[in-house]
C-alpha cells in the first residue's frame, strides 16, 4: 500500500452513491430514498437554499452573481481546454464565457432561465426520419447523427412528471392528438395540459405574435419554469407566482417562483431519513472492480483535501454534462472516443446550440425589458426540427424562433445601434435612448453531431488534483452555419413586420469562441442509443460497460435539438428512474443486451 492509499478513509457502504446534487441527482435521491435505499449525494460546491442564500435584498446582485459568477464552478477548481479543430492545440478556458456551468447544490438548475421544452417526436428518430424523407445523401458531411434509442411516446409520461414537478406555465398545443388553437401545433401529443397557465407577455411579444401570424406562423407562449400562479407540486413543495423581476439566469430566485431543485425537490428530500448530502466534496474517480465491469463506489476529497472512499451498490453520475463525461474518462468507464480511428464512445458526439436572429430598433416603441422573466416569450416552431420541408435548402435541423425579454439588467443589458461608439458620452446617450426601443427576434437552433466535434482528456493541462482537464474540440459546421443564416433572415423579416426601423442580422460568421456568452446547452459525450459501438449508454441511461453506473443529463443527447435541454433532461431522469425502480433493483445487471 502506498502512502496516499493508507490515508484514504473507507466509509460504510451505501445503496446508492450520487455524484452531483442538481436536478437529476435530487430527483433520483428522493425517489430512491423513498424505496428504502441508503442514499448519499456528493456535491463539489456548497449547500444553497432559498431561505439562507437568496435574500430578496441581495439575490438580485448583478455584479456578484453575473459579472463575478459566484455560483459557477471556479475555473481554478475545474475548467476545460478548447480548440475548434482536431489539428489545433487546445488552451484552457480561464474565465467562463460562452457557457456557464453551475456548481453547488441545485447546480445549473438553480441559475437557469427556466425554459422547459419537450423535444419533437421526430427529434428522437432523426436519422431514420431524415434518411426516409430526404435520402442519406442529404445529411451533412462528416455527420454522426443518430436515433436516440428511445421514442417520444416512451418519454411522454416522464415529460409529464417533470412538468408537474416544476409546475410549468404554458398552454397545450396537442392534447391527446387534438390540436389546440393557443398552443404549439407541432408538439407531440400530451396526455394533459400544463399544470399552470402561461405567463403574461409584454408588448414586444404581442407585436411578434401578430407579425408571426401575418407570416403564416403559429406563435404560442413558451413553456416556463417561472410560474404564472402559485403551485404545490407532486412532493408537496410550494411555489409562488413570478414577479417578472428579470433576475433568473445566473441568479437564485428569492421568491420561490422559479422551479429548481431548491424549490421543487430539496425540501422533501432533506426530510428523508435515509438520505445524506455531503457538500464541498469532489468525486475524483468512480472505482471499478478488477475486471472493470462493476463499480465498487467512488473516491472523493473534502474541502480540506482529505480523501475518502465511499463504497456503493449503485453509482449515479448526475454532474453537469461535461463533467459526467470527464469523470467517465478519468474512471475508465466505457471506451474513450478516438476520432482518428472513429472508434470508442465516451466523448463522442459533443454538440451545442446555435444562436442567430435579429436585433430590432424601433422609432417610438416603449418596451419594458426590465419587466421580464427568464422564460417570458412567444415562440413559433414552424421552422424547428423537420416541421418544414428542407428540400433544396442545403441543411437539416431547425430552430425555435422567439421574441423574448429575459431581463433588462443595469450592467449587461446595454444594446445600442450599429455604429455607436463603444464608450464615452455618445455611448451613454445611445444607451439611454435605446434601452426601451430595442427588442430581438431570436432563433435557438439544433446542432448535429460530427466526427470532428468531441470531448477527450487534454494531454497537457491538469486540475489542482493532477487529473487531466477535459478537452473540447468544437466548431459550428457548414450545416449549422447555413441553418443559422436562413433562420436569421426569417427573424429579420418578422422584425420588419413588427415595425422595426432598423434591423441587424446576427448569425454565425466566425469560428466558435469561448467569448461572448452564447448558451449553457452543452450536450453529448456520453450518448444513449441502441448500439454499444456508437453509444456509451443504453436506452435507460445505463453504461453498456459498467451496469451499476447510470449517467444522467444532457450528456446523453446523441445530438442537440432546436430547444433548451432541461425539459428533456428531466424526462430522461424519470424514464431512467422508472427502469431502475421497476427492473434494475429487482435484478441488478444490464437492462439491455445486444
Amino acid at each position: 500500500m502506498d502512502e496516499a492509499r493508507q490515508m484514504t478513509t473507507i466509509l460504510p457502504r451505501k445503496g446508492v452513491v450520487i455524484v452531483g446534487l442538481g436536478w437529476t441527482g435530487s430527483i433520483l435521491a428522493l425517489e430512491l430514498a423513498r424505496q428504502g435505499l441508503d442514499v448519499v449525494a456528493i456535491e463539489r460546491g456548497p449547500w444553497r437554499d432559498t431561505a439562507t442564500d437568496f435574500n430578496i435584498g441581495t439575490a438580485a446582485d448583478e455584479l456578484r452573481y453575473s459579472a463575478r459568477q459566484e455560483t459557477l464552478v471556479k475555473p481554478a477548481q475545474e475548467t476545460l481546454t478548447m480548440r475548434n479543430t482536431p489539428a489545433q492545440t487546445a488552451l484552457p478556458i480561464r474565465s467562463w464565457g460562452s457557457f456557464l456551468p453551475g456548481s453547488g447544490v441545485g447546480g445549473s438548475g438553480m441559475h437557469w432561465n427556466g425554459q422547459t421544452w419537450r423535444f419533437l417526436p421526430n427529434d428522437f428518430v432523426i436519422n431514420s426520419h431524415l434518411t426516409a424523407r430526404y435520402g442519406a445523401a442529404a445529411l451533412p458531411q462528416g455527420h454522426q447523427i443518430q436515433d436516440w434509442g428511445v421514442t417520444y411516446d416512451e418519454l411522454e409520461p416522464h415529460y409529464d412528471a417533470f412538468e408537474y414537478l416544476c409546475g410549468i406555465s404554458g398552454v397545450a398545443g396537442n392534447l391527446r392528438g387534438k390540436i389546440q388553437e393557443e398552443g404549439n401545433p407541432f408538439e407531440g401529443a400530451r396526455q394533459r395540459g400544463y399544470p399552470t397557465p402561461p405567463l403574461k407577455q409584454g408588448y414586444a411579444q404581442d407585436l411578434f405574435a401578430k407579425a408571426a401570424r401575418e407570416h403564416g406562423l403559429h406563435p404560442f407562449p413558451r413553456p416556463s419554469a417561472n410560474l404564472s400562479t402559485a403551485y404545490t407540486n407532486t412532493y408537496g413543495c410550494s411555489l409562488a407566482p413570478c414577479t417578472y423581476c428579470g433576475f433568473c439566469e445566473r441568479f437564485g430566485c428569492a421568491n420561490y417562483a422559479k422551479s429548481s431543485p431548491q424549490t421543487c425537490v430539496l425540501p422533501a428530500l432533506m426530510r428523508e431519513k435515509t438520505f445524506e448530502a455531503r457538500t464541498e466534496c469532489e468525486v475524483t474517480k468512480v472505482n471499478l472492480s478488477a475486471d472493470g465491469k462493476h463499480a465498487t463506489g467512488v473516491t472523493y476529497v473534502d474541502k480540506d483535501g482529505v480523501e475518502f472512499e465511499q463504497p456503493g451498490d449503485l453509482v449515479l453520475l448526475c454532474a453537469y454534462a461535461l463533467f459526467n463525461v470527464r469523470l467517465m474518462l478519468l474512471s475508465g468507464i466505457g471506451k474513450p472516443y478516438d476520432r482518428d480511428r472513429n472508434e470508442g464512445v465516451v466523448g463522442r458526439n459533443y454538440a451545442y446550440q446555435s444562436s442567430s436572429g435579429s436585433t430590432a430598433f424601433f422609432e417610438s416603441a416603449r418596451f419594458n425589458p426590465f419587466a421580464a422573466s427568464g422564460s417570458l416569450g412567444v415562440t413559433a416552431d414552424d421552422y424547428n426540427g423537420d416541421n418544414f420541408d428542407h428540400g433544396g435548402l442545403g441543411f437539416v435541423g431547425g430552430a425555435s424562433i422567439t421574441s423574448a425579454h429575459t431581463n433588462g439588467r443595469p450592467i449587461s443589458y446595454r444594446p445600442v445601434p450599429p455604429g455607436t461608439p463603444t464608450w464615452g458620452a455618445a455611448w451613454k446617450r445611445a444607451t439611454a435612448d435605446t434601452y426601451q426601443k430595442v427588442t430581438t427576434v431570436n432563433a435557438a437552433g439544433s446542432v448535429m453531431s460530427y466526427r470532428d466535434c468531441y470531448l477527450d482528456l487534454d494531454p497537457t493541462y491538469k486540475d489542482p488534483l493532477g487529473r487531466p482537464l477535459l478537452r473540447m474540440t468544437f466548431d459550428f459546421q457548414d450545416n449549422e452555419r447555413k441553418m443559422a443564416r436562413w433562420m436569421a433572415e426569417h427573424c429579420v423579416d418578422i422584425a420588419k413586420t413588427m415595425g422595426a426601423k432598423q434591423t441587424v442580422l446576427n448569425t454565425i460568421t466566425e469560428p466558435w469562441s469561448v467569448v461572448p456568452y452564447q448558451t449553457t446547452h452543452n450536450t453529448g459525450g456520453a450518448v444513449m442509443g441502441s448500439d454499444p459501438k456508437t453509444s456509451a449508454l443504453n436506452k435507460y441511461l445505463q453504461s453498456w460497460d459498467v451496469s451499476n453506473v447510470f449517467v444522467m443529463g444532457a450528456s446523453a443527447f446523441p445530438q442537440n435539438a432546436g430547444y433548451n435541454p432541461t425539459g428533456t433532461v428531466g424526462a430522461l431522469t424519470y424514464w431512467a428512474l422508472n427502469a431502475i425502480k421497476t427492473t434494475y433493483l429487482k435484478n441488478p445487471g444490464p437492462l439491455v443486451t445486444v
Binding site: T50, A51, T52, N55, I56, G57, A230, T232, Y235, G236, C237, S238, L239, A240, P241, T243, C245, A254, N255, Y256, T263, P267, A268, M270, R271
Partner: protein, 147 residues
C-alpha cells in the same frame, strides 16, 4: 401516551379558539378607523412596501398560499403590541414544515436595510391597509426592539 396527546390536541384547540375570539373580544387589537392613505407615514410606507414586501405579500396583502402569510385583515399584524411584526421585519423568520408541506418558507431579515423610521412606516402602512386598522408605530418602538 395516547391520552396525553389527546389532551395536548384539546389544549391546542382551545388556544386556537381563544386566539380567534381574542381578536374581536379583548383589547389586544384596537378597532379604529384606518390612518388616511395620504398621511406621510402611509405614503412612505407604501413606497417601502412596494420595494421590499410586495413581491411576496402581493399588492393586495393577500400573500401566497402555503408560502407567504396574508397580511390583509390579519389580527397578528393589527395587534396593539406590535413587537411580533417589528421583530419579524428586523430579523425575519421561518415557518415550520411537515412531510405534507415541506417547503418551510422563510422571510429574510430586513433590519440591515431598513432604518427604524422605515420599519415603523412600512408597518404603519400594513396595519392600515386592505381593511386593517391599528395605531401607527414610531421609530422608538422599533429602536428598543432592535437592540
Amino acid at each position: 401516551m395516547s391520552v396525553s396527546i389527546r389532551q395536548t390536541v384539546a389544549a391546542l384547540g382551545l388556544a386556537v379558539v381563544a386566539l380567534a375570539q381574542g381578536g374581536a373580544a379583548n383589547a389586544e387589537t384596537t378597532k379604529t378607523a384606518p390612518i388616511a392613505a395620504d398621511d406621510p407615514r402611509m405614503v412612505a410606507g407604501l413606497a417601502i412596501y412596494t420595494d421590499t414586501c410586495m413581491a411576496c405579500h402581493r399588492a393586495t396583502g393577500e400573500g401566497v398560499p402555503n408560502l407567504f402569510p396574508k397580511l390583509a385583515k390579519s389580527d397578528v399584524v393589527q395587534q396593539k403590541n406590535a413587537a411580533w411584526p417589528i421583530i419579524m421585519v428586523l430579523q425575519g423568520g421561518r415557518s415550520g414544515a411537515t412531510d405534507a408541506s415541506p417547503t418551510g418558507a422563510a422571510m429574510p431579515s430586513l433590519g440591515w436595510r431598513l432604518s427604524d423610521d422605515q420599519v415603523a412606516d412600512v408597518l404603519t402602512y400594513i396595519r392600515n391597509s386592505w381593511g386593517n386598522a391599528a395605531p401607527a408605530l414610531a421609530a422608538r418602538d422599533v429602536e428598543k426592539l432592535r437592540q
